[in-house]
Amino acid sequence: MNEHGTEHGGPVADQRSEGYGSTAVRLDQGHVEGTGRLPARFENPGLPPHIPRAADLDDAAAKRAEKQVATMFGVSMLGTLVFIVAYFAIPMETQVFMPGIGKANLSNVVLGVSMALGLLGIGVGAVHWAKTLMPDTEVVEERHPMRSGDDARRGFVKTLLTGGTEAQLDRRPLIKYSLGGALGLFALPMVLQVAGSLGPLPKDELSKTMWKKGDRLVRDPEHTAIKATDVTIGSVFHVLPESIKESEHILEDKAKAAVLLLRLEPDDIKVAKARDWGYEGIVAYSKICTHVGCPVGLYEQQTHHLLCPCHQSTFDVTQDCKVIFGPAKRPLPQLKITVDAEGYLVADAPFREAVGPSFWERG
């Protein structure tokens, strides 16, 4: 059955003499000019009849509601009281075991729950009060068009234009243009001061790290030097340059100088340069991701992949840390290493390219 009723076709009984039905139309007749008895659209039936609530009709219900509201306000007061007592009484280190939560800080739990009760008591009480006892007859407020009346608009325009005329702006274009110039420029000193003094020019700082030839590789965070024999196949060491201890800007230097030391079977390293820059299968790569700079720490020993946890850039150590998945583009820069006279691993040269995320003038 569809609303068009055409399934059943046939003439429709028409000409009712009573009620509305002057001419009911068949819906497949298309647009038919009505005689005006039926309105074109439904009319708003107005507000539905008001249904009183229990508390409106029954005194006992109202009294009950009053008691409920008062109880909730009472709960609030109780909560506040508990907070005040608990604030002084509960030592800060006490723990409480709560199922599902573990050992929580008792002070935090009690202060929080009591505060919550203190607040919820008022809120729920007030809302319940409004719902049960305050009038719930709907009230109608008339709107007015947002726009001002035409008179007001004319007055506005008139005032504005008169002001302009009285200021002789139209007669004195020199004032107009010079005003424009002054206003256009006056904010520049403020902008210049803050923008210009915010920080130093980068110069070449983004392109250089503190690694120098001869710098020993030390463990992070213990700062102990590493012998080549300490590094076994499948190991990963997190290293820093030895001279970082004397740095005045330790974190800033660390943010560029953090390096990963790995050992693979030399045959597994497929790129000759990567093998040459390493030492007997020990290779060192910058730990700073070339995407946006997170430390690339995850080393998968079996697949020789380095994974960055932030956006999943994946670098293949066997292919000179080429990007094999993820949003990074450039491979991790390699640090050329060798051993010194005592067998400790040292940098053989500084990084040959900028480490970390790309930037415009990186080239």
Binding site: R53, K131, R219, H238, G297, T303
Partner: protein, 261 residues
């Protein structure tokens, strides 16, 4: 008629009789049944015992002489520690093929059997030994230092609280909850599956003890702020606020707007 005879028709009598029968049978079996191979005190015998167990349970993937097959790597040089870890945490024998072997509760072998297999594998080639009790209990470890080491070396895979993290292609770094100190040490020393090797020259035994102490401190489940939501960071917090925070607020809002009874 004595008391026992007076009660012989009691409905519980038959149940009691069955119970007694079971206990007697079980005890007899336990006393008389052939025992599985005991770990012997000499290490050569132990290795021999281990070889038998190995060939029965592990050789199908690792080869008859642990030389490796396409299904499982060679075990030469992995050391007793690796066996103690893999078998002791239920990872091996691998129950079902998959990207990696998960830790299981079901440990098929007794401690003596594990020690036997470990002795066998250790005999193949030198490798990390089962660590000393002194370092594996975590006692006396510096939790603060362990935390620093953990955050530099481990958190990037296992998450700051050891709740686990993703690796590529479906692999993962498992959560580190409630693990024996010995197994933590061994995992670091042997580098199981995707995990790199953190041998004693990388992270010293004292440092390993500190890491163990740190992890055990997290096991104490001290969550000062309340429910930790899995210690997975902002993702679970965001989920919580959308589901519960918004849900509760909408609940109150709906209640507020409803006509009262």
């Amino acid at each position: 008629m004595n008391a026992l005879a007076a009660r012989r028709r009691h409905p519980a009598a038959i149940a009691l009789l069955i119970l007694v029968g079971l206990l007697v049978t079980g005890a007899a079996y336990a006393a008389l049944a052939p025992k599985p191979a005991q770990a012997s005190t000499t290490s050569a015998a132990q290795a021999e015992e281990g070889k038998k167990l190995f060939q029965a349970n592990c050789s199908s993937c690792h080869g008859l002489n642990a030389e490796g097959t396409p299904d499982g790597p060679s075990l030469a040089g992995v050391g007793a520690a690796a066996v103690d870890f893999q078998v002791g945490t239920g990872r091996m024998p691998m129950a079902a093929p998959g990207v990696q072997a998960p830790r299981t509760e079901r440990i098929k072998f007794s401690d003596e059997e594990i020690a036997a297999m470990a002795a066998y594998v250790a005999s193949l080639a030198p490798g990390p030994a089962v660590p000393d009790e002194e370092y594996t209990s975590g006692e006396g470890g510096d939790v603060a230092k362990g935390g620093e080491l953990f955050r530099v070396n481990c958190a990037m895979c296992h998450n700051f609280a050891g709740s686990g993290g993703a690796l590529t292609r479906g692999k993962y770094a498992p959560p580190l909850r409630d693990i024996e100190g010995k197994h933590i040490y061994e995992a670091m020393a042997t580098g199981p599956q995707s995990m790199p090797v953190f041998n004693d020259t990388n992270i010293s035994p004292e440092s390993k003890r500190d890491v163990i102490a740190f992890l055990h401190s997290i096991d104490k489940q001290e969550n000062p702020g309340g429910l930790a939501l899995g210690n997975m960071g902002p993702v679970s917090e965001g989920l919580f606020i959308w589901v519960f925070g918004l849900g509760i607020m909408i609940g109150f809002a709906v209640w507020l707007g409803q006509k009262s009874a």
